[in-house]
C-alpha cells in the first residue's frame, strides 16, 4: 500500500513544513516515507512544493507523475495538479486562495477556506495545518493522533508556543472532510 501526496503553494505558506510533519508522523508510525522538495528555479518563482510518499514497503520513486492526494494551497497549484491526479484521488483546495472549483469528477475534491480559518485562529501561518487536517480525515493514512504526536515530538522548543494553535487548526480542517 503506497500513497503519494503533493503539497503545493506559494513560498511562505508552509508547504514544505507540512510535508515534513507528515513524514515525521509516518516515520514515527513505522511506515516507509520519503519527502522531497522541488528545489529548482521554480522555488524562486513563487510555488514551493514537496512530495511525500508513504508506504508499507521499500519506496521506489520519491516523485510521481499522478499523485493520489494533493494539497493545493493556491490557484497555480490547483491548475497544475488537478489534471495530473490519479483517478479516485483526493484534492484538498485552499478555497481562500482560488477563484474556481475543481472540474474533474473522478476525484474527490474538498474545498477548505484555510486562510479564513487560520485568521480566525489568530495566525494565518497555520493554514497549512487546516489543510492537513482535512487531508488526514479524508485519507486515513495514519492512526488517529499521529500527526499531533509528531507535532509534539518534532517541534523545536522555540516554536512550541504555536503547538496549541496548530492542533486547533488540524481539528478545524478535519471538520471539512
Amino acid at each position: 500500500m503506497q500513497t503519494e501526496i503533493i503539497i503545493s503553494g506559494f513560498g511562505g505558506q508552509g508547504t514544505l513544513y507540512a510535508g515534513q510533519l507528515l513524514a515525521y508522523a509516518a516515520m514515527d508510525e513505522g511506515k516507509q516515507v520519503t519527502w522531497i522538495p522541488s528545489y529548482g528555479p521554480e522555488m524562486r518563482g513563487g510555488t514551493a512544493n514537496c512530495t511525500v510518499v508513504i508506504s508499507d514497503e521499500e519506496i521506489g520513486s520519491p516523485t510521481v507523475l499522478y499523485p493520489k492526494a494533493v494539497l493545493a494551497m493556491n490557484l497555480p497549484s490547483l491548475d497544475k495538479y488537478e489534471p495530473l491526479m490519479a483517478t479516485g484521488g483526493i484534492l484538498i483546495v485552499n478555497e481562500s486562495m482560488v477563484n474556481r472549483v475543481p472540474t474533474r469528477k473522478d476525484i474527490r475534491a474538498i474545498m477548505v477556506p484555510a486562510n479564513t480559518i487560520a485568521q480566525e485562529l489568530g495566525n494565518e501561518r497555520v493554514s497549512n495545518m487546516v489543510m492537513m487536517g482535512a487531508l488526514l480525515k479524508a485519507l486515513p493514512l495514519l492512526p488517529e493522533g499521529a500527526i499531533e504526536r509528531a507535532l509534539a515530538a518534532h517541534t523545536a522548543e522555540r516554536h512550541k508556543r504555536l503547538m496549541g494553535t496548530n492542533i486547533e487548526a488540524l481539528k478545524k480542517g478535519m471538520a471539512y472532510a
Partner: protein
C-alpha cells in the same frame, strides 16, 4: 539508535563526522551546499578542520595535502566543481592516497542547472582526469544507503589507499528519509607509516605522484592495476529485485534505480515477469551479475538520467547475445516511473531486435516526446 528524518546531504555530512572525518575542504555549489554548511557548523566545535576553499581546485588540493597526513578527509561538490577537481583526483590517485569525494550530480553540460542528473557517470566511472587511475564509485539510492556507503567509503579508501567517490544526485541530496546514523567513534590517534607526520625518530616520508623514470611509473601503474583487480573481485555491490524468474531485466542505479523499482512493481502487477538489477558500485561494476542474467533474459532495459553512459557498459557485457534497449532523460530531468513502465511494456510488446543501435530507437522516442528537431 533511533531513526531520524534527514536530508541526504546532511546525512552524508553527519555520517562522515561520526566515522572520524578530521578535515573537510569544499566550495559552495548547489545542490550539495547543505553538506558543506552542516560541516561548517559542526567541525569547528569538534576541533576539526573545516576550510571553505577559494575554489574547487583549491579544495581538492587541500584534500590532497590532508590525505598525505593519513587522517580522514573529504570534499564534496557538484558536477561543474567536480570537473575542476579532476586535476587533484589524478594527483591523489597518482600518490595512492585515501580520500572521499561526494559528487551531487546536477544537469549539464556547462553550467547546466541544479536539477538531479546522472550525466557524470562517464566522468566518475571512466575517468575525467589524466592518466591511468581508478576510483571506486558508489551510487546510493536512498538516504539510508547514502549513510552506509559514506561509512564504507572511508573504510575502502583506507583499505586500498584510493579515492572513493560517492555519486549521488540532487534529488537524493535534497530528499528526506528516515535513516539510522552510525554512532560517533573517537578519532583514531595513530596514522599509517606511509603518511607524512614530521615526528622525530620516524623515517622520512616523501609523498609524490612523480615517477620521472617511465619504467618506474609503469611498475607503479602495474601495481595499481593489480590492486584494482583485487577490488574488482572483492568489492562489487548491487541489489536485485524480482529477478529470480525475470524474463525482462531493467538495470538502473541511484535515484533512477529506485524510480525503476516503482515501474518494475507496477509491471509485475500487470503480470510482466520483469526484475531490476541496481548496481551500487558503479566501479567496480557488477559484471558477473549482468552476465548471469544474460541466459534467462529475453531483453534488457537500461535506464539512466543521462544519454546512455552505463548503456555502453551493459552492451559490452551482454555482447549482442540479447537485445538491450535504453530509456533515459537528460539535462536535469529524471524519468518518471510511468515512462520506464512504458519502456518495459514496449519490450514486452516487441518486436525485439539485436540489430541497430538502441540509442537511435531511444532518441526517436524522446524526440517524439519532447520534440526539438535538428
Amino acid at each position: 539508535m533511533a531513526k531520524e528524518l534527514i536530508k541526504g546531504n546532511i546525512a552524508v555530512a553527519e555520517t562522515a563526522l561520526r566515522v572520524g572525518l578530521v578535515s573537510y575542504f569544499g566550495y559552495p555549489i548547489t545542490p550539495q551546499t547543505e553538506l558543506l554548511e552542516h560541516l561548517s557548523a559542526r567541525m569547528p566545535d569538534l576541533g576539526r578542520a573545516f576550510v571553505q576553499a577559494e575554489s574547487e581546485l583549491g579544495a581538492i588540493n587541500m584534500v590532497y595535502g590532508a590525505a598525505c597526513t593519513g587522517h580522514r578527509t573529504m570534499t564534496s561538490s557538484s558536477s561543474p566543481g567536480i570537473s575542476l577537481m579532476m586535476e587533484g583526483i589524478s594527483y591523489i590517485s597518482g600518490t595512492e592516497l585515501p580520500a572521499v569525494i561526494v559528487n551531487v550530480v546536477r544537469g549539464g553540460p556547462g553550467l547546466g542547472n541544479i536539477a538531479p542528473s546522472q550525466g557524470d557517470y562517464n566522468q566518475m566511472v571512466h575517468g575525467g582526469g589524466h592518466g591511468e587511475y581508478h576510483l571506486l564509485v558508489l551510487a546510493p539510492a536512498s538516504v539510508q544507503e547514502a549513510v552506509e556507503l559514506t561509512a564504507l567509503a572511508f573504510d575502502l579508501a583506507e583499505k586500498y589507499r584510493t579515492i572513493v567517490a560517492i555519486m549521488m544526485d540532487g534529488s537524493l541530496g535534497q530528499m528526506m528519509e528516515p535513516a539510522e546514523l552510525p554512532p560517533f567513534v573517537p578519532l583514531r590517534e595513530e596514522v599509517p607509516d606511509w603518511a607524512v607526520k614530521a615526528i622525530p625518530g620516524k623515517p622520512r616520508v616523501v609523498l609524490s605522484s612523480i615517477n620521472i623514470d617511465p619504467p618506474a611509473q609503469e611498475r607503479f601503474n602495474l601495481r595499481n592495476e593489480l590492486k584494482w583487480q583485487k577490488i574488482r573481485r572483492d568489492e562489487v555491490r548491487f541489489r536485485e529485485y524480482y529477478l529470480e524468474d525475470a524474463e525482462y531485466v531493467v538495470v538502473g542505479y541511484g535515484t533512477v534505480g529506485r524510480i525503476a523499482l516503482s515501474a518494475v512493481r507496477t509491471a509485475r502487477e500487470k503480470g510482466i515477469k520483469v526484475g531490476l538489477l541496481r548496481p551500487i558500485t558503479l566501479k567496480p561494476f557488477p559484471v558477473e551479475a549482468v552476465e548471469r542474467l544474460v541466459p534467462q533474459a529475453k531483453a534488457f532495459l537500461v535506464t539512466e538520467a543521462n544519454n546512455g553512459m552505463m548503456l555502453d557498459d551493459i552492451r559490452g557485457l551482454v555482447k549482442g547475445l540479447k537485445p538491450v534497449e535504453f530509456y533515459g532523460r537528460m539535462g536535469g530531468v529524471l524519468p518518471y516511473p510511468d515512462e520506464i513502465l512504458d519502456a518495459i511494456e514496449a519490450l514486452v510488446k516487441g518486436p525485439l531486435t539485436l540489430e541497430g543501435d538502441p540509442r537511435d530507437r531511444w532518441l526517436a522516442v524522446l524526440e517524439q516526446k519532447i520534440g526539438v528537431g535538428v
